[in-house]
Symmetry: C2
Subunit: 145 residues, 2 copies
């Protein structure tokens, strides 16, 4: 009963007004398998399925999907851009300072406090983004090395 039927990605793409190419389907499926993957990670995941895919195509697909609102692009400091399928909800990310692993975090207090700073320096504010930094379970458990 998982929602990952073969055709669902095609329907998702078409409903967003995009052509359902096999590269796009493969990228969506890759992101289902590894959330928060970067462009190269998606590329690696797509290759076995579509060996002729180019890295540039992956960049193009990710750009199109991002623009269509089907994927969300996150860019933690010091890391290449990551992409995830979870869109439309207000969730944030926690990044491991040692290995770069990323986890999803729901905002404990909702969006209101974070969205209303005391003084915006005259800026017109549209969105707020929270990034947490810490250690992932694996790195916290590992010795100093």
């Amino acid at each position: 009963m998982t929602a990952t039927r073969i055709g669902s990605e095609r329907e998702l793409l078409r409903s967003a007004g995009l052509r359902a190419t096999e590269q796009r389907v493969a990228v969506l499926r890759a992101l289902e398998g590894s959330p928060h993957a970067d462009a190269n990670g998606v590329f690696t995941a797509v290759l076995p399925e579509l060996p002729d895919t180019s890295l540039q195509a992956v960049y193009g697909v990710l750009g199109a999907l991002t623009e269509a609102g089907l994927v969300r692009r996150i860019e933690p400091a010091g890391s290449p851009a990551r992409y995830e399928l979870r869109v439309g909800d207000n969730h944030h990310h926690i990044v491991c300072t040692r290995c770069g692993a990323i986890g999803d975090v729901d905002c404990a207090v909702g969006s209101a406090p974070c969205l209303t700073p005391a003084d915006t320096s005259g800026f017109t504010l549209t969105t707020a983004e929270v990034t947490y930094w810490g250690l992932c379970p694996d790195c916290a458990a590992a010795p100093l090395t």
Copy 2:
């Protein structure tokens, strides 16, 4: 009564255990003049004072100052790294989505809510970082073009 006496940067550097080279003093002074400058901006600001300075030296100085805790490095998505002298306090940034201008923002509710997400996915959390996105006063006032 400004705190920007000639010698103060040298004292600051020495107290942090760093050699007070003229390049480092010049970088600190550049950051006083333009907060949130990127490496190239600092380089440009330093050149008139020290024409023989290389861009690589600026990167090296900024890296050393960041490591020593004298400057803070921020990396908004889609922008080169920016550097600022304001360290040690809990303040965040607002970035103009059109021109990339950056402003400082004090957290309206303190750091507590942002630092306590409901579920950290097993991560050990150390810091939280908030980035606001919006339009700067100039871009908000400007027509669509």
